[in-house]
């Protein structure tokens, strides 16, 4: 972006008098707007729309009390803010408070809580309206930051597409005020993917001796690793996605720039090291507090039992009435741990095996389809939940209707992306590969977990990217493809493998289910 001084110099050279006609702020803005290309104006217009949408939705959401898992994230942030206070005042941390509220049940990683901590450091008793405003600002800033990266590395069309879907989807905007990690994890995944594409491009340029001096392998690797582990801290289930994206980046990079393989491997080693170094403190802390090995979270056994097993057998029979399908088994596993001295995770693992004793391939497939349906069928499921009881105007109906109108076509775009083999140049094929792997990894969720209306928030940015990729492919149809044919053929083959894998998995599940 040119500076004001530069603008004035340019205009002075064109004969305008700066002395006789000093432009005010409005004049400067108008002049800058006039200097912009049409695509830039469209992008800025979309950014304005994204911000205005959130400003308009905030009053309807601000007073919504903490809902569901938000309770953990907010409590953990409060406890972490107390830890900061204790550290700067050189007093011992309240380990019991941290254990209860941060390690908790080990169900969640504390990414969202870390994001919220600065707010509670400054305002320890922050009211919910302030919490939601802070979250709205943070999520909007992260969306715009991610879009900047997309514009730089993937192009304006992709940036515009992400601003529309998910940026302008009302439910997504409302969810930006929520203390769940799904949405932020999706944006971090988008940033990871963008950086992965940038890495492949720079590596190719270095291979050809063209382009700027490449960033040091370790620096790029650490950047990728940080984005990956940050996404996992917000939503641990994206671990598979992070591993998949890094693996495909390595393979695609080596295919496109064989001579650079050492550099690529070094980058990935640095990424892995950064990932593990930042994962380790949480794993060690949660393992220590919960008395067993915790890598990311502890919820998988109970999740599998509730999703695919017999819920009436999770506690070797029915669990206690009076609390949810998550808290009742937890209480039972804690009682076993108290009685026997084993860890509650080991108890939960054995409970899960017992509850899943009668699972068959057919029952599993039926549950997967049911989960997939829950994942997709109600993308505005949180509209009413996040409508504040003190909302000055109703929002849920409009949010719901517009969300359905925008998200269902976007789901269709995602499906087409999964099945479409891009045969353009290397850049487009690498993007296609990465987006396919990322969508596929997120769709592992219905295979292991009861799905719900908020899971598409992580998927949302990938749907926007998919739309841009398919649009680009349509526009390029019939144009000659530049690049080494043999290498491009390998990238195409990899895409075909992914498409065949997705189709096979879907066919097997449907065949077993029906």
């Amino acid at each position: 972006m040119p500076s004001t001084v530069l603008d004035e110099e340019v205009h002075a050279r064109h004969g305008r008098s700066l002395v006789s006609d000093p432009p005010g702020p409005a004049g400067l803005l108008a002049r800058r707007w006039a200097d912009l290309e049409r695509a830039q104006r469209v992008l800025l217009g979309l950014v304005a729309a994204v911000v205005l949408l959130r400003v308009g939705l905030y009053p309807g959401t601000a007073g919504t009390p903490v809902y569901g898992d938000e309770a953990y994230y907010v409590d953990a942030a409060r406890a972490l803010s107390n830890l900061v206070r204790d550290l700067v005042s050189f007093s011992g941390p309240d380990t019991a408070e941290l254990s209860q509220n941060v390690a908790g049940n080990g169900w969640f990683m504390p990414g969202m809580s870390i994001l919220l901590t600065p707010l509670f450091v400054v305002v320890p008793d922050a009211p919910i309206e302030l919490v939601r405003a802070y979250l709205g600002l943070a999520s909007t800033a992260l969306l715009l930051l991610a879009v900047l990266g997309v514009r730089r590395h993937l192009g304006r069309v992709s940036a515009g597409a992400v601003l529309v879907v998910p940026g302008l989807v009302p439910m997504y905007a409302v969810f930006g005020f929520a203390a769940y990690g799904d949405l932020v994890a999706g944006l971090l995944v988008l940033m990871l993917l963008t950086q992965a594409v940038a890495l492949v491009r720079r590596t190719r340029a270095a291979d050809r001796g063209a382009g700027p001096e490449p960033v040091a392998a370790w620096r790029h690797g650490i950047h990728l690793g940080l984005l990956g582990i940050a996404a996992v801290y917000f939503r641990s289930s994206v671990s598979i996605l992070v591993v998949g994206v890094l693996a495909v980046t390595l393979v695609a990079g080596v295919l496109l720039a064989r001579a650079q393989w050492r550099r690529l491997v070094a980058t990935m080693v640095a990424a892995g090291a950064a990932f593990l170094v930042l994962l380790a403190p949480w794993s060690a802390y949660a393992s220590h507090e919960l008395g067993g090995r915790v890598l990311t979270t502890t919820s998988v056994p109970t999740v599998l039992a509730n999703t695919f097993g017999d819920r009436d057998d999770v506690c070797y029979g029915e669990c206690d009435p009076g609390s949810s399908i998550w808290f009742s088994p937890l209480r039972y596993s804690r009682e076993v741990a108290r009685a026997t001295g084993i860890s509650e995770m080991q108890a939960a693992a054995e409970m899960s095996v017992y509850a899943r004793a009668d699972v068959t391939a057919e029952s599993y497939a039926r549950d997967v389809l049911d989960n997939l349906s829950r994942y997709l069928r109600n993308p505005a499921g949180f509209a009413r939940i996040f409508e504040s009881p003190t909302a000055p105007y109703p929002t849920a109906e409009v949010v719901g209707a517009l969300t359905y109108l925008m998200v269902f076509p976007a789901f269709l775009v995602g499906l087409v992306m999964l099945l479409y083999v891009d045969r353009r140049g290397a850049g487009a094929q690498v993007q296609s590969l990465l987006v396919k792997v990322a969508i596929g990894a997120l769709l592992v969720q219905p295979f292991v977990h009861i799905a719900g209306s908020r899971y598409w928030m992580t998927l949302g940015p990938l749907l926007g990217l998919s739309a841009a990729l398919l649009y680009g492919a349509r526009r390029s149809r019939g144009r000659p493809v530049a690049g080494d044919v043999a290498t491009l053929a390998w990238l195409t083959r990899l895409q075909v493998v992914l498409v065949v894998g997705a189709v096979t998995a879907a066919t097997v599940v449907v065949a077993l289910a029906v």
């Binding site: 500076s3 509220n101 400054v122 305002v123 009076g322 076993v336 009685a339």
Partner: protein, 166 residues
Amino acid sequence: MAVSEARRPRSARRAVAALGAALLLLIVLSPTFGRADPTGSYRPELSPDARTNGCWPLPGGVRLDFGYQVRSDELVATTTGQRRQLVLHYDQVSGEEAVDSVESGFAAAGVTDVQVIADDFVGTAPDAVVRGQMVLDLPPSRPEGRPECRAPFSTKKFTPDMDDRS
């Protein structure tokens, strides 16, 4: 141009430094703002076992010498009058061992009006922790009047208005 290019990074550096200093100041001052108050609602304290905290002791003050989880502890009407039916899961012992242990415990305490039945779970691994379910038919007893003696997750006396978990 040369001047503006040189100034920009310096002013940006100043802005970052000022922001950093302000943040540091806020962090240093944070203990004076008060303390946050987490609710701990996602990790509530585990309720004590009402059989061992004096609320609903077993007849004769008997304590079970193996690990167990109480599933329910109800007063039931029978043809011979009211009885206390205690259902629990036993850990790391076989049903036979558990019954022997319970019966000898009651015998030692001089409690004779007791029946114990145990069924090992089918299909669990030989080294599974939770092994089976035991039903104890006991003489009725009166509770302590303390409030904690009415906490359902401690007493395992559930009322019909409590939703089924599934």
